[in-house]
């Protein structure tokens, strides 16, 4: 790749927070590092992934609204977690977590468990666990 061909296709996926370093050759064939804001094929596949995740989250939301699962399920999907990862973050046994993902188990949560789940989802203490945004 030549230095002047380093792609600069900005789709605001880096949110202006950083740029990526790309290695390219200059006129003399020497390697230099060039900063790039993005590249189209890469943006496409990243957006493809997020499209899919958002679909899954919406699906999870509809399941919760139908009372098939508890709101924990929605937050879990939104946090891209599996029940195993959620159990690890919340420091609650996985067997309990899978019960809490159902409405019946969710209704039996005690304060300590709620606090732990809020930590796992990176929520403030004042946030409502059952609220889905």
């Amino acid at each position: 790749m030549e230095k002047d061909k380093v792609p600069q296709d900005d789709e605001n996926l880096l949110e202006g927070k950083t740029r990526e370093l790309q290695y390219a050759v200059d006129e003399d064939g020497k390697y230099v590092a060039v900063k790039s804001v993005g590249w189209e094929p890469k943006n496409i596949v990243l957006q493809q992934e997020w499209e899919l995740i958002n679909e899954k989250v919406q699906h999870a939301k509809s399941l919760v609204e139908k009372d098939k699962y508890s709101p924990l399920y929605y937050h879990m999907k939104k946090g891209l977690m599996s029940s195993w990862v959620l159990a690890k973050y919340a420091e609650i046994s996985w067997f309990k977590v899978i019960r809490h993902l159902k409405p019946k188990g969710y209704s039996k949560l005690n304060d300590d468990q709620i606090r732990k789940y809020k930590y796992a989802f990176n929520m403030k203490d004042s946030d409502d666990l059952s609220k889905m945004d």
Partner: protein, 335 residues
């Protein structure tokens, strides 16, 4: 306090951290050199490991491998610590900073507050260096960021105890002693290991054989899966190839940069010649990403899968030639 630390951006976090830490200890070694010495170039298509339900195609060795190998080849003494207790982990970091030791850490990306949101997945093998603490905020040198970043105590604790695959468990590491560095020897060792991994290991899934294996599988995607799933499989490959911190083209350009620098240092024009070939391969990988991107966007037909599979076979042929030449070159060097 704040330690005098030169923050350099890098294409890959692991190399960047080593390169930056080495510079702190008075050794100038570029990112590409660290990458080559640690044999960072790699390929494997792991059908048995699934990420988001799709097989993993890896362009890098297992996280931490580059670090381990480079440290060994460069005769560095590195102290590594893990902690079961989160507070103890943070206290140990504070104590280190107090002593003026810049400390590397393995962290998860998902809760890293300064990271761009679309890139925040549960990837737990990111490397950062902490270089100071001001007003309860830690100063972080993250090689994928352009400048120093700040993290609060709670945020840092959270990312150090990220969960999931390869949970870092508060892992931190720092260089305690720098021994006798023989860079030339390390370079040759690194190249030898790369050759071994890419063309000499048995089995169908690693190295250039792995590329051919993947090419054959890509051909079958449109027959096996519906249009959407097939596109997802391709998208996964490109994501692994072009993910943040690869320098593009699955590290091929980074390796070409290493070969160029190594050729100059060892005074071996043949290595620089291979660097040019590797650049050409990198451009082919980019072409692969372009075609895959098109397929993902338009949910393309069977022919385009055939073309892209053929392209991958060509890449495998070209790369194999390079590794064979490298093998010949390093064998010809008298010690």
């Amino acid at each position: 306090m704040r330690i005098e630390f030169n923050h350099k951006m890098s294409a890959h976090c692991e190399n960047g951290v080593i390169s930056n830490l080495l510079e702190f200890h008075g050794i100038k070694l570029s990112e590409a050199m660290v990458f080559g010495i640690g044999s960072g170039i790699y390929f494997s298509h792991l059908t048995m490991f699934k990420l988001n339900g799709l097989p993993v195609t890896s362009f890098r060795p297992w996280p931490g491998a580059i670090f381990r190998r480079a440290a060994k080849a460069l005769d560095l003494s590195i102290k590594r610590r893990k902690f079961r207790n989160k507070e103890k982990a943070m206290n140990a970091l504070d104590a280190n900073l107090e002593k003026g030791i810049p400390t590397g850490m393995a962290v998860g990306v998902f809760h890293l507050t300064y990271f761009p949101a679309p890139y925040r997945f549960h990837f737990n093998a990111h490397n950062i260096v902490c270089v100071g603490k001001e007003n309860g905020h830690y100063i972080i040198s993250d090689p994928t960021m352009e400048d120093f970043e700040m993290l609060s105590y709670d945020d840092l604790k959270r990312v150090r105890y990220a969960q999931g695959l390869q949970a870092p468990k508060g892992k931190m590491y720092y260089i305690t002693n720098v021994g006798n560095i023989d860079i030339n020897k390390a370079i040759i060792k690194g190249i030898k290991r790369t050759v071994l991994e890419m063309i000499k290991l048995p089995g169908p899934i690693i190295g250039t054989r792995g590329m051919r294996f993947l090419a054959r599988r890509i051909k079958k995607y449109p027959l096996k899966y519906d249009a959407r799933k097939a596109a997802r499989h391709l998208g996964q490959i490109v994501r692994m190839q072009e993910e943040i911190g690869t320098g593009g083209a699955g590290f091929r350009f980074l390796y070409a940069a290493f070969l160029q620098e190594a050729g100059e240092r060892l005074n071996l024009p043949e290595l620089s010649e291979q660097s040019k070939k590797m650049t050409a391969v990198g451009d082919m990988w980019r072409e692969f990403a372009v075609q895959a991107g098109r397929i993902v966007k338009n949910r393309n037909d069977k022919e385009s899968f055939d073309t892209i599979s053929q392209l991958l076979l060509n890449i495998a042929d070209e790369e194999e030639k390079i590794y064979k030449d490298l093998d010949r070159i390093v064998k010809g060097i008298r010690k």
